[in-house]
């Protein structure tokens, strides 16, 4: 259990860590770590390995928006059916059912603002069951997934201290 947690924490920080390095850091052995990672993959705990991109520095043009979606849930199907209709669109990055003033939070990524507007007007707002949308464009990202994206602290330790 402890090892599982440690593996997940370490890989979440740096998925390029080798099983050997993880084994050394956790005081375990390489085979055990390898097997545990495989089990986590098989069971769908680890969904994949990816990189984190600072979209503001990336050469790929990206605009992102959060869309608050109000829906009228359908008898027997609840929110799941409408959520499915939304998350199937490839430009949709995430869909969450929320408590509060609206129902679904949809995060969307596209090359331009126009593309996002078009998506909202032509694909999202017209879906049966969607009663209203509010599109909030992301203007600047300060921190994402635990990583600070703006110029922040440059800790300056001396090279050698007692």
């Amino acid at each position: 259990m402890q090892l599982t947690q440690e593996i997940l924490t370490l890989l979440q920080q740096d998925s390029t860590l080798s099983p050997k390095a993880i084994a050394q850091m956790t005081g375990s052995d390489e085979e055990t770590v390898r097997a545990e990672i495989e089990r986590l993959r098989d069971e769908g705990v680890i969904l994949g390995y990816t990189i984190r991109i600072n979209t503001e520095k990336s050469p790929i043009p990206t605009v992102e928006a959060m869309i608050e979606v109000k829906v009228s849930p359908q008898r027997d199907l609840g929110y799941n059916d409408i959520a499915r209709r939304i998350y199937k669109f490839p430009e949709v990055e995430s869909v969450f059912l929320m408590s509060g003033a609206y129902d679904l939070a949809v995060k969307i990524q596209a090359p331009t603002m126009q593309a996002i507007s078009a998506f909202v007007w032509e694909k999202l707002a017209v879906l049966d069951g969607v009663t209203g949308t509010a599109t909030l464009f992301i203007m600047r990202k300060y921190k994402e997934n635990g990583t600070i994206l703006v110029e922040d602290e440059v800790p300056e330790r001396l090279v050698i201290t007692p």
Binding site: Q24, M25, P155, L158, V159, T161
Partner: protein, 389 residues
Amino acid sequence: MNYDKVLASPVVSIPPSGIRRFFDVASTMQGVISLGVGEPDFVTPWNIREASIHSIEHGRTHYTSNHGMPELRELICEYLSRRYGVRYDLSSCLVTVGASEALDLAFRALLNPGDEVLIPAPSYVSYAPCVTLAHGIPVAVPTYEEDAYALRADVLESFLNERTKAVILPYPNNPTGGIMTRPQIDAVTRVLSGRDVVMIADEIYSELTYGGTHESFAKGMEDRTILINGFSKAFAMTGWRLGYACGPKPLIDMMVKIHQYTMLCAPVMAQTAGIEALKDALSSDFAQVRAMRNAYNRRRLLIYEGFKDMGLPVFEPRGAFYIFPSIRETGMTSEQFCERLLKEGRVATVPGNAFGDAGEGHIRCSYAASTDNIMESLRRIRVFLNHLN
């Protein structure tokens, strides 16, 4: 003017710092990875910084009581009692400008010219010079790798004489990473019992032990121990300069006497930060301290396995954030080794002899560095060693 004539001889007698010399070389070089840093690589946790900023904004910019803010001293006493079973009350607790000032005060309060202070070796670079500056005589008591660098009671006993005024107990140890277990501590205190020898326990790394909670020399020995600790290592607060000393009131009173004339008080901003650090730790089961300790522990294991893989004889460190491999079999002195490793391998480490003659044949590597830097420096050291053969 003849400057040699005006300078005080204890100051002149202190040799230049070996660490300083290395620092001067290393800091001019490009592309060096440093394992030479004796401080956390973490920045002070944000809640602590924020509390201090808030207090500055609200005008808390004045002197505090000489002893330190009562709220902080209360928290320190509660912390020591809850965490280590050590019992001092408010009047026996003095807040200082780092553990460094507390050490200096202890020596100055205790030493008459010619008094001896026993110092386990190798250990932290400041003890011997500070004893000399207080007109005392530092005496190195060797510790050995086969004892996991713990201080042996029989060895200590052989150094005790009528001039012995105090023993420094620097555990967890910088530079070896050695710690002392309860039975080892008991053996040492038994040797000292019945003698007028003060134990000066520098437990600045007390939060950084791996595989068990730190055992304090002061526990049950409050009446003969000056316990020194601080915020630098546990809370990543080196630059704030905040530490403390707890001890028998007659000794602390004399330390306060020096402190009130030379320092007045520790910086109020730092004291406010210290209050937040301890409050948060005590109410969160030390969550942030634990997270940092866990990170150090991973790096400790990584670097220990790395040196073992290279075939360098190395003792598994149990505390602080240093590892102290032996480089004897390269045939070089520790200074030669560190100098060449720096110039040819681009890794900065500290030669063991900087911590006294007992450290010769070793290098001190700090694993308060990112895992990437640790892995890369291990790779560089391996290449360097292969080139030697």
